[in-house]
Each structure stands twice: as structure tokens, then as C-alpha cells.
């Protein structure tokens, strides 16, 4: 093989790796909260063996209301904690609990149960 052939081969392989990475190796985009007539961006989250959906996308500067609904009795998930907002909420089984936040800065804010078994992210754009 001549040097240029080796170059083309390596370049081709790199291009293929790039295509695979670019198109197929991206993170799930998350669920976008809907802007409702109340002025809030709302989304309903099911707490049952994890948070469904667990990645929520919202816009910054607008109030956010996350409606948690816990449908299980496992111990840890009875509280959800938003460390960046200094907020936590008790989630009694079978009730819908609204957590209201006002994210001012774009970024990623995690939320979890106190022991960190369930995890979710709030992505602020």
C-alpha cells in the first residue's frame, strides 16, 4: 500500500466513525414541557420504579410546574429533591404533587430521591 492509500483508508474510517457518532450516538432528547394557558410549563411525571419521563426540557425564565404522581409504595421514592433549587416535596402514593420552579439560568439540574436511587434531569434552555 502506498502512503496515500493508507491516508485515504484511515480518513475513510475516521469519517465512518464520525457519521456513526454524529447520527446514532446521541443522548435521548428528553420530554419537552408544554406551555399551558396558565402560563406554566407543565409536565406530568410518573414515579414508579424510576421517573417517567426522567429528562425534562424547559425554557428558562418561565415558571415550571412538575406534576409528580407516585404509583408505588417503595420507601425512597416518597420524596423528590431538587438540590439546585433547594426544594423537596413529599409524594404520597396515588396523589399528584406539583413542584413549582423558576429556572433563571440555562443548564442541567438533576433531581432525585434522597438516596439517589431514582434520578432525573431538568434541562433548561
Amino acid at each position: 500500500m502506498t502512503p496515500d492509500q493508507i491516508g485515504v483508508t484511515v480518513g475513510g474510517l475516521a469519517a465512518i466513525v464520525f457519521i456513526v457518532w454524529f447520527f446514532w450516538m446521541k443522548k435521548a432528547p428528553g420530554t419537552r414541557a408544554a406551555a399551558l394557558s396558565s402560563g406554566y410549563q407543565e409536565v406530568m411525571i410518573l414515579v414508579k420504579g424510576g421517573y417517567t419521563p426522567d429528562v425534562i426540557v424547559v425554557e428558562h425564565g418561565k415558571p415550571v410546574r412538575l406534576n409528580f404522581r407516585r404509583e408505588e409504595t417503595a420507601g425512597c421514592s416518597d420524596t423528590v429533591v431538587f438540590p439546585d433549587f433547594g426544594k423537596s416535596a413529599l409524594l404520597p402514593t396515588g396523589e399528584t404533587v406539583a413542584v413549582e420552579l423558576l429556572p433563571q439560568q440555562p443548564g442541567e439540574y438533576p433531581f432525585a430521591c434522597p438516596m439517589g436511587m431514582f434520578r432525573g434531569r431538568l434541562i433548561v434552555e
Binding site: 475513510g12 474510517l13 447520527f23 432528547p29 399551558l36 394557558s37 402560563g39 399528584t96
Partner: protein, 881 residues
């Protein structure tokens, strides 16, 4: 230039056909409308001389009352929210008086300021109303009306749309009322329609955008199709007898013609195909490849290759490679654009649910003020007002009954078919229909607080949260496009490393032609052709499908919620049982005949069911005298000379009639979800008549069919658990959601959705509308309310649950057809990929040629069209009972 005395527009006195001499002057008009207005009252306009031309003040100033300012970050939040608007000059927040003062310039409007406050989470104390104005003919009339409205204190903004003849006014309800706004317009000499004009929803705009989008796409298609015909012929002139001699292969004339073709095709790409390139940029930003990416890459590369081949043929290793793929570019672009146009058309009507809901509201209310009953617009009813309602009238707002009694038909809100008896202290709901008596009530909820307003809001919110589904072609393309790119790179590397010289030329040709052949022209049509056929198929079977998306989602349903009343059942009470008391001398028919005679004079909701039941059984009408209704208990009358009582247990106990022998029977009937009523003759228990809302004949088999299709069937109802279970048992449903409040139905749908299910909802009432909008697919029973039909995606005209089964079968058949089409669209092109890669080259020296690409295009198009037509012959399968 003369001035039109009516509207103030400038008119060319020489050219205008509308003129009128009056007094010693000649007047000129812009339109026949202004002329008519002048003729009606010439003195007024002639005297006015030069009309008032109002100039718009560029800078505006608003004082808006806002609730919720007291929160700690209130001021800063308002300032940031308003500061984001263009043209904002100064904002002052006064927490004590709950006022926000705003100074701003155009283009920001008052409506935008109010909206910005609302999105920031505050409640501006601003009301909006729309008047329909008659006789607005010209643009300048608009200014007079706007100025007149703005001069009233309390009016924040007013705009008149002459095209719709509607004035849109934003005002402070504390300072100004609707009546005075109306007068302000009338003082300017314009007539105002009695009712407030409905607020146009975003949907209307959407509808308009859709039809213009369709027309735009069709223009693009015709242009692309025209150029395509031309390029198809002149790309292969040697195939046509006469052209063969005129434009021989490799001749200079042909080269110049091809250059011209290149320019034309570039125009097709830039005009007809623009959305593919903008779409490609958009999807690359999201790191996905969709249909647009595939088409843009294929057509773009084909054009660049062909243009290089025409301009620099000498750089190609053989003359065979210098032929052009312009036909691929133009034909693919044209056909995919046609597919997009079909898709836009298949999207169908948008929902008008909101408009229909607003139309339900009573327009006026009769309110007691200063001891007099006056009619006022429903917007002006205040909390605490005493409202008078007569029989047959709509109840204007929510409230609590203070005087009188009646039966109220609440089916439009609660879905329950049987009218509800209302007594002092009971709650009444706005927009429901008063049936029998007249009463007074105290308004407790008005405006945005009423149950109807809540339903409107819930429908809006449910529609806002619906996520559009990803198109099947886009899913396929997201894998296909990168795969093709990878294959092209592999082809390039292999040919460069192992191919014949000049390696770089061959490698490039192989890579580029791989991208060209991979671009399937039937791709855009594969989905819309089948979906359009599927929608037509639904229509012939009595199922109106609102659009391709609904059809697509229906296929994926795995749970279906059925509303009980009106969906599984008829939604109307009918007579079900007549049970004679043990030891009575009366026959069943005699008991029923008497019961019917007693009920004949009754206005009780269930009375009609008994009377109809007697008629159906062919019983003659017995004569009743001395009719007496005992509210909350029953009725009594003398039938054929014998005193007869009909009513509940309480009535019987009050009259000391022993019904102990009948009680077990009554309990059984109640357990079956029926309403039993006792009949007593001559002071002795004679029997029971029972009425119930009965199950439709084919509900049970439809439920079984749905279960066989693999769907979880759930019943939802506001009724008590016992009645619900009784009905569920009859039709074979296991999961029942009973005692669900109307406003919670949508929540129940959402709960099932959170379990990861695709949920269909079948309903017929207004109270079902939010749930229908929330569900992935909402099915409305065609015999139900307009609002439910508008909020749903699919309407079952025949009103039978069988329609749901059919709709699911049709959607499955259609989607199967879509997949077949996609295979048909891709298969020929995919088969061409190895040829383009040069798999055949070592054996027969063959690489991709334009004629091969053209063949793939025509084969795939014919396959797709043929297969979609095959769907027309689909017949419903009878599901085994």
C-alpha cells in the same frame, strides 16, 4: 385628489365611478359602500367637511391592574418579562395599588404586553371582547372606531380588522362595561351585532396556513414536473427517433442543451426543493437525518456531478461517465414535493372544539338588580348576582339555587343522560339547560371560573401537550441516510485502494453515484398515498378520520377507554323490568298501564321512559285524574277510579304501605344498575317498574373484538361503582374507573399514558372533550355532541362501538400498506447501490448509469402507486365472536 367624505381615503375624482352631487359640491367615494353610507345621511357627511383623520401615536402607555405582585421576586420578574419585548421604554410596578405602568413603542401591542405578563405567571386584570361591526367598508373607517374606543377610560387597546368586520377590544372590566364600548362604536355611526364575536382560535389561522402551504407546494410541483418532462426527454435524446439525429451523443449541441438543463434544474432545486435544504440544515442541527436530508443529499450531489460532467468532461476517465443525472434531481424533487402536498392535504381539518364550546355559553342573563329583572350580557354577571332562569332557558353561569326548583339537563357538561332534580341549596352549572321549573340562583362562579371555561381550558391544554408523531419515512431515513453515506465512503476507499487508474476519479464517481441512486423518488409519496386511501376507506365505512396522523397513531393503540353513558349504553333511560308484588291481583301489563297513566302528567325525567315503555308494549292509555307530584318522592293520581302511587321507598314508607316483600327484588334491580320505582294501588304494594340506561346491542361483541385485537379495554364513568360494575359485567370489561369526576377524565387518560400505553378514548359528551383531546386518539360517537366530535380525531358516524374495531383494522391495513410502499420505494434504489458501488464492475465492467437510475425511479413510483391502489380493495374482517 379628492377626499372620500365617509372614510377619508384619497380618491381620484377622474377615475372613480362612485360620485354624488350634493348641495353645491360633488363628492367622490372610494367604494359603493361609502357611497351608500353617504346616501343614507348625506347631510352629516357633507357638513363634516374634511373628515377627521386620526394619526396613530407612535408611543403608547398602558396602566394594567395585575394580581400577584406581592411575591418577593414580583417586580424583577415583571421587569425582565416586559423588558424582553421590543420597543419597551419604561416599566413601573406599583405593588400597593396592584398596577403596572408600561411605556412602549410600536411594534409591540397591548395584547403582547398582557400576554407577556401572563406567561411570567401573573394574572392581568384585563378582559377582552370582540364586536362584530356591520358596515365597515374601508380602511379609514377603522381608525375612527379604534380612536373612539381608545378614548373611553378603561380601554387598553382596540383594533379593528376590516376584513372580518370585527373590533377586538382589550379593556379593564372595573372601569368600563361592554355596553358603553358598544355605544362608543354606535356613536360613530356603525351598527354593532348583538352577540360578541367568537374569539378566533389559533386553529383558524393554522387552517389558513395549511391551505396556503398546499397551494405553494402544488405550484412547486407543477414547476418541477414541467422541468422534469423536459430533462427526462433530453437526457436521453438517443432513445427518441427524431432527436437521435438532431442531438447525437457527445455532440456540442447536446452539451449546450445540457448546460441549459443544468440551469433549469438548479432553479427546480432552489424553488421547488428549497424545503429539503433548509430541512437538512434543521435536522443536522438536531443530529438526525430525515427524509429531507436524504433528498437534499441525493439531488444536490446529482446536480453537482452532472454540472462537472458537462463543464469539464475531460477529467472523467471514460465518455460514459459524462452523462448527466439532471433528470434524477428534477424528478425526485418534483415527486417528493407532490408527496408533501398530499401529506398537507391528508392532515385534514383542524379541530374547532374550542369555538363550539364557546358557542355553548348563554349570551345573556336575566339578573335582579335594584329589585328589577334586567337582561344583561353574560360577561357582566358578577359573583353574588341573583339570576332568574325560566323553563327551557340556558343557565348562564355557575351558582347555587336560592329559590324554586326544577329539573336540569346537565348532559352537555356531565354526560349523564337523566336530568337532575335541583332544589334550594343545590349547585347549578352554567351552559346547562333548565327543563321544567323556573328558579333563582346566586351566581358563585362567573367568567373564567365557570365549569365550562374550565373545560375549554382543559381542552386547550390537552391539545397543547400533544406531541406530533414522527413520520415513518423520517424514522427509516434516520437509519438509511447515514448507512448510505457510510457505504459511499467504503466504496470510495475500496476503489481508491484497489480500483483501476485513475483511482481518484473512479473512487469519486463510485461514491457520488452511490449517493445519487440511494435517493428514492417514491419516498415522499409512499406514506401520503396510503394514508389518503385509508382515510377514504374509513369514510366509506362510516368512520371519519381527521387526518393521516390519527390513522397512524390508531395502529399503535394498546389501551382503549370507553365512556359508559352514550358510548357503551344508549345514553337514554328505557323501561327494563315490571315486577308484580307477590299476591297482587294485577298483571304486569296492568301495573305498567297504571304507572304510565300516573307518569303521563309528570315532568319527571324518568317518566318519559315509563310512558314510552307502555306504548311499545301496545298498552292503551288509561285515564288519570287528580294528578299530584310529590317533589323528591314520586307522583300520585287516580287511575280508573283507583288511587295509584308511584315513587321511591320513602314515599311508600310515608304512606305506610308495606313493600317489604318487594325490597329484595328492588335491591337486585339496583344491583344491576337499574332505577326501581314502587307502584301502589289502593294503598297496597302492586309491584315495581324499573328503568335503566341499557347497553347497545353490539357493545359486548365490539368489546370482545377489541380485546382480541390485543387492546386493554377500560370503562370510565361518573356513575357509582355498582352501576358501573353491572354494565361492565354485561359487556365483559374488567377494568372499571367509576365515580370519576368530569374534570378528572383527562387525568385518568394521562395516567394510563404514563404507564407507557398508547391510549384511545371513546366518548360523546362535552365532559369527555378534554379526555378525547388528551388521548393519543380520541374517538367521538357521531350521535354525540358537536364539541366531542370536534375534540376527537376520529368520528364514528354510526354511533356503534364496532366502528372503533373497524377504525383499528383500517389503520392496521393502511400502515401495512405504508410499509409495503416504503419497501417498494427503497428496494429498486437499494438494489442499485451495489451496482453503483461497482460490484458488477469486475465481471461485466458495469457501473451506474443515468438510465439505470431513471429505471429505478420509474419502477419504484409504479410500485408505490399500484400498491396504494390495492388498499382500496380492502374489506373489513369479521372478528370471531
Amino acid at each position: 385628489m379628492a377626499i372620500d367624505p365617509v372614510c377619508g381615503m384619497e380618491v381620484d375624482e377622474k377615475s372613480t365611478p362612485w360620485k354624488r352631487p350634493y348641495g353645491d359640491r360633488e363628492f367622490y367615494f372610494c367604494s359603493p359602500g361609502c357611497l351608500d353610507a353617504f346616501d343614507a345621511d348625506p347631510a352629516r357627511y357633507a357638513q363634516a367637511g374634511t373628515p377627521r383623520i386620526a394619526t396613530r401615536i407612535p408611543s403608547s402607555h398602558l396602566r394594567i391592574p395585575v394580581a400577584g405582585l406581592e411575591r418577593p421576586d414580583g417586580i424583577s420578574r415583571i421587569e425582565t418579562a416586559l423588558g424582553a419585548l421590543t420597543g419597551m421604554k419604561r416599566t413601573a410596578v406599583n405593588v400597593e395599588s396592584d398596577l403596572v405602568e408600561v411605556h412602549y413603542d410600536a411594534p409591540t401591542t397591548a395584547t403582547e404586553v398582557v400576554e407577556a405578563l401572563r406567561t411570567a405567571g401573573f394574572t392581568p386584570g384585563v378582559a377582552r371582547t370582540r364586536f362584530e361591526i356591520k358596515s365597515v367598508y374601508c380602511a379609514s373607517c377603522v381608525l375612527f372606531i379604534e380612536e373612539a374606543l381608545k378614548q373611553r377610560s378603561g380601554v387598553l387597546a382596540a383594533s379593528v380588522n376590516p376584513a372580518e368586520s370585527v373590533a377586538d377590544v382589550l379593556y379593564e372590566p372595573r372601569l368600563v362595561d361592554v355596553g358603553s364600548l358598544k355605544r362608543a362604536i354606535e356613536e360613530q355611526g356603525y351598527a354593532v351585532a348583538e352577540a360578541a364575536a367568537p374569539t378566533p382560535t389559533g386553529l383558524e389561522k393554522q387552517e389558513h396556513e395549511r391551505s396556503s402551504e398546499y397551494r405553494r407546494l402544488m405550484r412547486k410541483w407543477w414547476f418541477g414536473a414541467g422541468v422534469s418532462t423536459f430533462t427526462m426527454i433530453f437526457s436521453y435524446p438517443w432513445l427518441f427517433p427524431y432527436l437521435r439525429d438532431l442531438l447525437p451523443r457527445g455532440s456540442e449541441q447536446l452539451r449546450y442543451l445540457w448546460m441549459f438543463m443544468g440551469v433549469l434544474t438548479l432553479a427546480v432545486m432552489a424553488y421547488s426543493g428549497s424545503q429539503f435544504f433548509t430541512g437538512m440544515v434543521r435536522s443536522l442541527r438536531h443530529r438526525t437525518a430525515d427524509m429531507h436530508t436524504l433528498i437534499a443529499v441525493g439531488t444536490g450531489v446529482a446536480w453537482v456531478y452532472s454540472t462537472i460532467a458537462v463543464l469539464f468532461p475531460q477529467i472523467f476517465p471514460a465518455a460514459a461517465f459524462t452523462e448527466v443525472y439532471y433528470d434524477v434531481t428534477s424528478v425526485v424533487t418534483a415527486l417528493v414535493v407532490l408527496g408533501l402536498a398530499m401529506e398537507v392535504k391528508a392532515k385534514g381539518r383542524t379541530s374547532e372544539a374550542i369555538k363550539k364550546l364557546i358557542g355553548l355559553q348563554a349570551k345573556t342573563a336575566r339578573v335582579v338588580r335594584n329589585g328589577r329583572e334586567i337582561d344583561i350580557p353574560v360577561e357582566e354577571v358578577l359573583v353574588g348576582d341573583t339570576v332568574v332562569v325560566r323553563p327551557g332557558e340556558k343557565i348562564p353561569v355557575d351558582g347555587e339555587l336560592t329559590d324554586g326548583a326544577s329539573a336540569v339537563d346537565e348532559s352537555m357538561i356531565t354526560g349523564e343522560s337523566i336530568p337532575v332534580e335541583k332544589h334550594v341549596g343545590d349547585e347549578v352549572i352554567g351552559a346547562t339547560l333548565n327543563k321544567t321549573g323556573s328558579f333563582r340562583f346566586r351566581a358563585t362562579k362567573v367568567g373564567k371560573e365557570t365549569a365550562l371555561a374550565n373545560i375549554i381550558r382543559m381542552v386547550q391544554d390537552a391539545q397543547a401537550t400533544k406531541v406530533p408523531i414522527q413520520r415513518v419515512v423520517d424514522v427509516v431515513s434516520s437509519y438509511f441516510t447515514p448507512a448510505v453515506m457510510i457505504l459511499a465512503i467504503i466504496g470510495f476507499v475500496v476503489w481508491y485502494d484497489f480500483g483501476p487508474p485513475p483511482a481518484i476519479a473512479y473512487a469519486l464517481i463510485v461514491a457520488v453515484t452511490t449517493l445519487i441512486i440511494a435517493c428514492p423518488c417514491a419516498l415522499g409519496m409512499a406514506t401520503p398515498m396510503s394514508l389518503t386511501t385509508g382515510i377514504g376507506l374509513g369514510a366509506t365505512h362510516g368512520i371519519l378520520i381527521r387526518g393521516g396522523e390519527a390513522l397512524q397513531t390508531t395502529k399503535g393503540l394498546n389501551a382503549i377507554i370507553l365512556d359508559k353513558t352514550g358510548t357503551i349504553t344508549h345514553g337514554k333511560p328505557v323501561l327494563t323490568d315490571v315486577v308484580p308484588a307477590p299476591g297482587t291481583s294485577l298483571s304486569r301489563d296492568a301495573i305498567l298501564q297504571r304507572a304510565a297513566a300516573v307518569e303521563e302528567g309528570s315532568e319527571h325525567p324518568l317518566a318519559a321512559a315509563i310512558v314510552e315503555g307502555a306504548q311499545e308494549r301496545g298498552l292503551t292509555r288509561a285515564k288519570a285524574q287528580g294528578f299530584n307530584a310529590i317533589p323528591g318522592h314520586g307522583v300520585e293520581a287516580v287511575v280508573q277510579g283507583r288511587p295509584t302511587l308511584l315513587g321511591n321507598l320513602k314515599l311508600m314508607t310515608d304512606r305506610q304501605i308495606d313493600v317489604a316483600a318487594l325490597e329484595p327484588q328492588a335491591r337486585i334491580l339496583a344491583g344491576e344498575g337499574k332505577t326501581p320505582m314502587y307502584v301502589a294501588v289502593d294503598g297496597k304494594a302492586a309491584g315495581i317498574v324499573a328503568v335503566a340506561d341499557t347497553v347497545k346491542g353490539d357493545s359486548a361483541s365490539a368489546v370482545r373484538a377489541l380485546q382480541q385485537l390485543g387492546l386493554e379495554v377500560v370503562m370510565i364513568t361518573g356513575d357509582n361503582a355498582r352501576t358501573a360494575q353491572a354494565i361492565a359485567r354485561q359487556v365483559g370489561i374488567e377494568r372499571v374507573m367509576a365515580e370519576v369526576l368530569p374534570q378528572d377524565k383527562a387525568l385518568q387518560v394521562q395516567k394510563l399514558q404514563l404507564e407507557g400505553k398508547k391510549v384511545g378514548m371513546v366518548g360523546d359528551g362535552i365532559n369527555d372533550a378534554p379526555a378525547l383531546a388528551q388521548a393519543d386518539v380520541g374517538f367521538a360517537i357521531g350521535t354525540g355532541t358537536d364539541v366531542a366530535i370536534e375534540a376527537s380525531d376520529i368520528t364514528l358516524i354510526k354511533g356503534s362501538l364496532k366502528g372503533v374495531v373497524l377504525a383499528i383494522q383500517i389503520s392496521r391495513a393502511t400502515l401495512r400498506n405504508v410499509y409495503q410502499n416504503l419497501v417498494g420505494a427503497f428496494i429498486y434504489n437499494t438494489a442499485g447501490i451495489p451496482v453503483a458501488l461497482g460490484v458488477l464492475y469486475p465481471f461485466i465492467g458495469m457501473l451506474l448509469s443515468p438510465i439505470l437510475a431513471a429505471a429505478a425511479m420509474s419502477f419504484s413510483s409504479v410500485t408505490v402507486i399500484g400498491n396504494a391502489n390495492r388498499l382500496k380493495r380492502w374489506r373489513p374482517k369479521e372478528v370471531m365472536p
